[in-house]
Amino acid sequence: MNHSEETNPSGAIPAEMEARIVAAVVGEASAFELAELERLLAEQPELRTFKQQIEATHAVVQHAERSERAPMRLAPERRAKILAAFGVPAEVSPDEANEAVILKFAAARRRRRKTWAWTSGLAASLTLASVLALRVLPSSQPMMVREVQSAREESDFVRAEGRLSMEKKKREASPLIVEKENVEAEPTDGPTNQPAPPAAAMALSSSDTLAKPKIEMPRQLPVRVAEVQEGNRRLYGAVRIPPKKPLLFGDQMKRIEPQAGGGKLLDAVSPTGANGESRTVGGVVKPIDKSWGVTADEETIALSPFEVSASRDQGGYMASNSIAGSRVRTELKDLGKDLDFGKKQTFAYIVATAAADDFLTGGKTVAPATPAESSLSELKTTAATVDEKLSNLKADQREPQSAAAVDNRAEINTRTEPVSTFSLHVSDASFRIAQAALARGERPDPATIRPEEFYNAFDYGDPSPAAAERVGCRVEQSGHPFMQQRNLVRIAMKVPSSGRSATQALHLTVLLDTSGSMERADRVATVHRALEVLASLLTANDRVTLIGFARQPHLLAENVAGDQASQLVELASHTPFEGGTNLEEALKLAGELAQRHQDAAAQNRIVFITDGAANLGNANPQALATTIEQLRQQGISFDACGVGTDGLDDTVLEALTRKGDGRYTVLDQASDADAGFAQQLAGAFRPAAENVKVQVRFNPARVGSYRLIGFEQHRLKEEDFRNDKVDAAELAADEAAVALYQIEVLPEGEGELGEVFVRFRDPATKTMIERSWPMLHDPQARAFDRSTPTLQLAGTAAFLAEKLRGGELANLIRLDDLAPTVNSLRGHYANSARVQQLVQMFEQMRRQSGP
């Protein structure tokens, strides 16, 4: 080869200088040489240009020389054709042919999967939007939430709206886009999410194609599906089946590709979906799912002697050798079961888009034009419907929350937004509420599900940092069990056990709801237990003021020393219950009293104990929030303790405590008011870190996109991180807080995942402290079910939350696939009551909803 210097890329640079730069770029230069070079580079711009060129080339050569982790494959027909042309020996060709079929099949499957993934995203947002729209109308509380967060969410809404319409536009614009999206996914995704167009086009085949063999098989095939990929963990979903065991796919699928959820394989044997009915087309029984916008015909890939039916990636494969040859088919799951109208529309629309895409770009194997065209027009009308819905929502101004939620729950591209900032708010209220609902055999209200309060409900036993460190951080990651090319990252922050403010006095104003509904025996017991625990935490230095309130607030005790606080229990038990709940008045009185006894050196807090502000009286939540915010600015925090889980106005309480820098806890029964509760209250009373904000800066060269699971109500703007006027949560001594991310790691990317920053105020010195830790890239991140118990626990909790709230992931999450993980958690955390509760919840969910 000639290396003649066609054009010297950078003018007259001495060869010796160039060699030095190259050496530096390829990592051969010593520190001294680098420093020297740095100096020269600063002086001579042409050297910098040369260095940039070499660096760029260096990176490309690295790529070119590195073996690919996820090789791409041609469409099966093309492979078959090429190999046939090569005259590859006969013993190979059945395999190849088999492989071709599987690839075809896998491609269709992948397409389904992809469609499903983003369908559910959109569907979820739509559902959420409509659900919230309905919820907002009758009650005023979400109004408050909205106003509380007004400015930010409003802007979020606009953004989210814009994004949605953008997406819509994309879909409308042209089917080519879908192809483009695939291309975009390629370099990192490899083949896994890659619909191979010709194969996908096959998915369009109408029933007449059933009769036409696409591939002539040379002879009767063994009943077996060839493994497609060479030792790569990214399977095409293909399984090598021993001959003579054609119906054992279930187990095998499960073992080989757990995320495909082969557990339901027996369903595959019966071709009828739960909602579907069977009919026979060309001798092949096909399920018809009425809930789909498209008929099952479009879902059938027919090859003779193979018959492949594809659907959402749910079932697995079934093979029978009833015809000369074998059949391979996925199970058509009951796709429409959980779909509401909006989802169905979206589905129809998406399937139609996919179909149209194939029709226009697929090239050779295309279905008749008419169906595709009608699908196109159908999708336009559907898009119009969606559009209309959206604009209605916007016009009514009812939807800022849902729109924000849409925004908050989407994956974020690191190229546009590499920084994720949030207030590290710790609570387990949502978990408790959901747990109680499930125990009653009910499905918890999705609006009360906050994933961060699920996975923060557990003690992960993360190591405590040294007191001097002020805060510790631990990062771990594993593969995502339900999403391809995604990893889970658990970031755990822990405050040392010796909070310096342990000697700080506590001035408490307890605001006790004495309305009629609190009279229930179990609630009385719970409240008493809570007060007892509270009293046990207080010392002689502390002061307590107790206010009972119903229609009117009554001062029950004022400025009682902490060691006398047990009297309060007695006092409370003699307080008569009455109708009405005038929280506004009560809060006003509490504020006055708290201010009267306020001590700048002490912790000043109002603790609100209620069974649910179901009737907040005429209280304007906005006014309440304002009051609470004003109190906080004067140094008085606001905690809320919900008693019982039915009728509890979870959203309002949560929002109020967020405003008030406080804790929100839920006590469902008296026994809850024990260790956990004490710790939480004590923690809130003695924060070891105030105004705790976390910022995660992802490295776009390594992480393609990310999603913070949960914390939707606690997101902050990037610039707010160092703006100490922007309020955030508190962490108590020895308390840990966890954030869980779902990230897309670029396998061919470079560098670490990013960096974690945490910033908080030391309550003792009132100084701001900031720490940061790198998040290293773990190229061998383990599969979820083989990762650390802590990550499995956090992940399982998050998945259950997502499943319960019906989020984007809900439809991807298959409880059956979580079962092994849950089982190992059951064993590993045998002594943790909380984890055992989670295990029970899992089982209850499974009973209620099936897999």
Binding site: M1, E5, V60, V61, M72, Q194, A701
Partner: protein
Amino acid sequence: MEPPPSSSVEPPLTGGTSALPVSIRSGGDRTALAELFHTEESGLLRFAIGLVRRRTVAEELVQETFLRLHQLWGEVENPRAWLYRSLRNLALNHLRDHARESPLDETTQLAEGDHPSELLGQMEAVGLVRMLLAEMSDEDRKLIRMKYHDDLKYRDISQRTGISVSNVGYRLHHLLKHLATMLRAAGIEGSRR
């Protein structure tokens, strides 16, 4: 999979369908071809996608390239380099012939972020480098391989090859510079940097 020695054939520059000659060849040849197909399929496909930006077309081109190689098998001196070169020519032909058909959504698509085009550029660049590497002399290719695939230091390379350390540096310097020049000539600035 060294190809049998024979005269080199220039890669075809014009499109056209291949008539598949069902030539009977030795088993060794078939295996070599199949092996080449298996090793290069992915890289070529990425390269083609990077060039034409549409998977369907890219697959078509890759298929065509392999079928042509099959016809010319035995006459091609460096099949790997030939594959890349031919594929590139076919792709450029395709782009030229279909210049008017460029996807209408291109602008809207890219408006959302430069991600896709950047990655596509990356795919193209990587493919081009693979082509250039395949076209290098064996010694040069070996050097690059030791440096980038085996991640060896100059000193280790020197020990294994018997070339002096400074000479290793000199040669890698020229190889990289050559690649940089070729990439620039192809209108690629290189990596995402």
